[in-house]
Amino acid sequence: MLGYLARRLAMTIPTLLLVAVAVFTLVRLIPGDPVQVMLGDNADPAQAAQLRAQLGLDQPVPLQFLYWLGKLATGDLGHSITNNLPVLPLILERFQVSATIVLVAVGLAACIAVVAGLIAAWKQNSALDLAIIGGATLLLSIPSFWLGLLLLLLFGLKLKWLPVIGYVPFSEDGWQAMLFMVLPIVTLTAVEIGVLTRMARAASIEVLRLEYVTHARAKGVPEWLVLGRHVLPNAFAPTWTLIGLVLGHLLGGIAVIETVFTLPGLGRLLVDSIFARDYPVVQGCLLFTAAIYVVVNLIVDLCYPLFDPRVAVA
């Protein structure tokens, strides 16, 4: 177990380094001089040179990278060009909003999807199976931002059950904050149920075919226990991996949903910074998102031996 932990941890270091190189390179590739962008078009050349030296931009590129990496290691992602705030606290604040929605939605979706997928597989090719897989495929095909708009139209504008635009932090008014969160969470849950149900169904079908399921039945194990004890844990393993991928990608990538519901999340911060050409923030967001992805998948992998004892030794 400890060996597995060490191996898996060691594997993330090169990935994180490569991610850093990718982001660093990307920002250097953006046309235009960052100093020019920061100071505006009619900047004083002396002032520009001073800023360049201050940012280390007069150094050779590999040195710049090392310098940047060093600051990165201490959590210093630089300062925003638009409001001169440090980037990392800005990101963390916005991340709270995105993470709340994503964690709740994916958690809900996973619970529903695993059960629905298991039942569909158990009753494979029945009308119930057809309904579940059909529903999942339908949900998978609906773009999240459109579903969000439709829900806003229905519950916000027509029925007026829920607030339409805006956001209140939990710290200020918990109830209000929850009301603002309902629709984004429902939207995201619906979309993710589609993906996860299909996976859970396919995995359950694979497992139901295996001899040990028949073996359990041949022992006289009642059907609910066959499903709960023998099928579910084994079918959950591949679904768990997918949950990790989904979680990792959504945590930085729900910009569209945040746009629909005008929530101050991480995705919205990235998009706004792109419009504002606020490159330190863009760079920070990209880096943070990729790092989150790597870390989430690390956690998912570390939990894997809980479902599959074979992994710990392999």
């Binding site: 001899e211 028949t214 041949a218």
Partner: protein, 537 residues
């Protein structure tokens, strides 16, 4: 006379979608404590018939008629709840594939305890004790450690014992064993089946052994039922069925058993075609984070000579290194040491092209050895790419001739997936022979095939060898097939040759104890008025 334990009456099973008949009005009975064998090839419906007893047919199949009575109770009519009470408690089942029949996510102990907890009122400590006793009974070395371990930590033979232990723990009246040892090597097969018979005798359990192997039938069963394509062919005592079969199909099955041919006339004359000295093959140990595990020697210092036209058989259990030896001799796997000479030339250092073109391989699994995206004609023609002097007309003629020789004339435009296993193996043989090689490695060429097909393919192989005169390294765990085709026999254990000699010497006067154990584990069929036939497979 008491009523039989189980009677199956006019059982009929169909495929749900196509209504194809899988089991067609089959009737038979099992007495208390009896050992009944149900014999059949693939497609005979033997597995479906057994699963129907417990109401565990796979989703595509359904029982459409007939009665199954256990102790007078019709299993086809009872409520699911009653059926669950009988499963495991009255009727236990052992499965074929030890690798997939235990749940990988649950410890061995928990899986064994599951049945006990369902069917008997026992405390946790009692359950544990019963499991440990049973594990000890099936000769598992460390029962307490096994109880807490997970299935993946055990070999196939050990898992099959665990499975047997978990089923016999409930002392069922009837044990259904569906090809329980087909996936095991000869030695484990013997051990597991002997254990099964002992346990069944101890508990007075009747056994229904589903098998394709007549050797096991003759060694263990009292009565047998022969099935073919869903129909009952013949039923009777094992002695009668094997020595005086009434039906043509049963006779065909018995005749398909490999037999020793009269003393082989082939003798090595002059220099060997291929000679191996001190051959070593090792597989790299697993790469750990900071170090590498020690290399494992799969073949460890093998000396071997094969003469032109001679058939040398390599036998041994799984893990003996016989397959690795074959691959290494064809230079598909790099050798870690030693030398291989072909017609006197060293082929390891020199990447000898002539050797590559003169040697061929026939694989065990005819399903993965043919490229699914090539037509049969293209597959057989492919080796001729490297015979540039052949015009395309000559090439076509050679391919057509080869297909005719293997009995598949006119198959050139077919796809591999349209062929049966036996037909595919014929294509694989045609591909190997078409370039007239002087050396062929045959790696378990018939063990994936049905009995009657095995006999045909072996016969074909022998005929082609007589015709084209290639030397052959025949790798097999099946001593019966080896006895039929080999001139000389090499016995391997743990990467080394422990014995080699002429076929008759090795079979009749084995020197090494491993050879003796292998031979003892292989059942011999005594057939009235015929030479004894050795069976395994």
């Amino acid at each position: 006379m008491t009523a039989p334990l189980l009677t199956v009456d006019q059982l009929r099973i169909e495929a749900a979608r196509t209504a194809a008949v899988v089991v067609d009005d089959v009737s038979f009975a099992i007495e208390r404590g009896e050992f009944l064998a149900v014999v059949g090839e693939s497609g005979s419906g033997k597995t479906a018939a057994a699963r129907a007893i417990l109401g565990l047919l796979p989703p595509g199949l359904r029982r459409v008629g007939g009665a199954i009575r256990l102790d007078g109770e019709d299993l086809a009519e009872i409520a699911p709840r009653r059926m669950r009470a009988l499963r495991g408690r009255s009727v236990g089942m052992v499965f074929q594939e030890p690798m997939v029949s235990l749940n990988p996510a649950i410890s061995v102990g928990a899986q064994m305890a599951e049945g006990l907890a369902l069917h008997e009122r026992l405390t946790r400590a009692e359950i544990r004790q019963r499991c440990l006793d049973m594990l000890a009974r099936v000769q598992i070395r460390d029962p307490a450690r096994t109880f807490d371990a997970y299935p993946h930590e055990f070999s196939g033979g050990m898992r099959q014992r665990i499975m047997l232990a978990s089923v016999m723990l409930l002392k069922p009246k009837l044990l259904l064993a569906d090809e329980p040892t087909t996936a095991l090597d000869t030695l484990s097969q013997r051990e597991v089946l002997d254990l099964m018979v002992e346990l069944a005798r101890d508990h007075g359990t009747a056994v229904m052994l589903i098998t394709h192997n007549l050797g096991l039938v003759s060694r263990y069963a009292q009565r047998a039922v022969v099935l073919r394509q869903g129909k009952l062919v013949e039923t009777g005592s094992v002695r009668q069925i094997l020595s005086a079969p009434r039906e043509a199909y049963t006779r065909q099955l018995v005749d398909a058993l490999p037999r020793r041919s009269s003393a082989s006339g082939r003798r090595v004359a002059g220099d060997p075609l291929i000679s191996v000295r001190g051959l070593k093959v090792s597989f790299g140990g697993r790469q750990r984070l900071f170090r590498r595990d020690a290399d494992v020697a799969a073949v460890n210092g093998v000396d071997l000579e094969i003469g032109a036209g001679e058939t040398v058989a390599v036998v041994g259990g799984s893990g003996s290194g016989k397959t690795t030896l074959g691959r290494a001799m064809l230079r598909l796997i790099p050798a870690a040491g030693g030398e291989i000479r072909f017609q006197g030339r060293d082929v390891i250092g020199t990447r000898d092209r002539a050797f590559r073109l003169a040697s061929q391989l026939v694989f065990q699994d005819p399903y993965s050895s043919l490229d699914p995206r090539m037509r049969v004609g293209e597959i057989v023609a492919e080796p001729l790419r490297h015979v540039p002097e052949l015009s395309s007309r000559e090439r076509d003629r050679r391919v057509a001739g080869m297909l005719e020789e293997v009995g598949l004339a006119g198959f050139a435009q077919r796809w591999p997936h349209e062929l049966s296993g036996g037909q595919r193996q014929r294509i694989a043989i045609a591909r190997a022979i078409v370039r007239h090689p002087s050396f062929v490695v045959a790696d378990e060429p018939v063990s994936a095939l049905d009995m009657t097909i095995q006999a045909q393919v072996l016969k074909l192989f022998e005929r082609l060898q007589a015709q084209y005169g290639f030397a052959c390294l025949f790798i097999s765990h099946d001593l019966a097939a080896v006895e039929q085709v080999a001139d000389r026999v090499v016995v391997m254990q743990a990467g080394r040759i422990v014995e080699q000699g002429s076929r008759d010497d090795v079979f009749d006067r084995p020197q090494h104890e491993y050879t003796r154990a292998l031979l003892a584990a292989t059942p011999v069929l005594d057939l009235a008025g015929q030479a004894a036939a050795r069976v395994s497979g």
